[in-house]
Subunit: 120 residues, 4 copies
């Protein structure tokens, strides 16, 4: 998954605003679903973020192409732990470990089979 | 309505990212509702933006206090035209004329009486 | 220029937050520069937005693919007026007329020749 | 430090978009500086985020007032570890442990004395 850094992503430090790396990672989780023929959110399920451990290693700048990879660490009955790495020009610039929980409306629900299917 | 400019609002030009002035104006419209004991969105109504004419006059910077004023220009049966001005250190830095339309779910609805009440 | 709508772009109305259409348009202006071998911002020049007239015609939703087109309306000595249209599933959903001004640091400067070159 | 949740902060789930909690925390760090007569960024110093461990405990919604507290956990020669908690209606809804590093331009620098002063 590749994403370009635009003006909107930068801050007055001339680099990507720290919270925006979480957005790039969320795009990559969504595109991973789309690439497997699924939506990241339907009437039947959606995901909420439970926890994130993020390491900001190097800054990215306007025009940089960010490459985001997703690695499943754990599949629970209703949750996923995913490791995400952002690379830029072949260098690791950001990593996060994120736990997401599957919901239907305001309640936790089991992971749908079609999602388990492409994760495992 | 006063709002401080934070790091998140700036871009690599060192000034507030242009689209963020629209957000400050939306905060001011919301706070105007809250100050009149109303929510800007309930099960019964919410608003969508129909058009905006924006003039970016001077830039704002980190730490600046933006003062946003709302002036009703027109009250339609289901819509409002509002003039909003942002001042910073006593100088006008941004203006917009915005038309918002009152909705219930996906349909246009008449302005609730309690909203007309504080507008007129 | 095609951009997908992600979770970050939506609001509690279930549609794209109004100010985010300006961001999609800015990405399209940037990609137009990149596609012509230029950066939208260098030490020598960058652009600031002077005015925007925006029409919000139909809402976009999660997963929608937005197609943004740029049409030059006027080329001034230091400014550009551009018409931008966003389509989604073949329907026009948003238009804006934007005036941007070319800057070097905090001063207005003439449009660089290489930019005039691909605009005209 | 109190901040209201606006439309811009929400997503299609009807709650605050996860990455935006980091923004509320950053506002609170900035306001903490301002309340002590200092800017969070000057020509002499600014801060970059090195790592974040975030727990998303309960969701916040439009109109909620978020109360953010800052607790210094560690003061290094050039870095700070801060614990931040967001409460809403008296309940803890989000916590993060953030490490920020003091910079001058692109280089790490020692914490200025005036900052150490109010931290300790």
């Amino acid at each position: 998954m590749k994403y370009r850094v635009y003006y909107e992503d930068t801050d007055m430090g001339g680099i990507v605003y720290h919270a925006n790396y979480l957005k790039f990672c969320e795009r990559a989780r969504s595109d991973w679903f789309y690439d497997n023929g699924l939506s990241p959110a339907t009437q039947e399920y959606h995901f909420i973020v439970k926890s994130i451990k993020a390491e900001f290693i190097k800054p990215a700048r306007l025009g940089d192409i960010l490459e985001v990879s997703n690695t499943v660490l754990e599949v629970g009955s209703a949750s996923l732990k995913i490791f995400q790495r952002i690379e830029c020009n072949g260098m690791e610039i950001y990593t996060q470990e994120v736990v997401v929980v599957c919901m239907k409306g305001e309640r936790i629900r089991r992971l749908p089979e079609e999602i388990k299917g492409f994760l495992l």
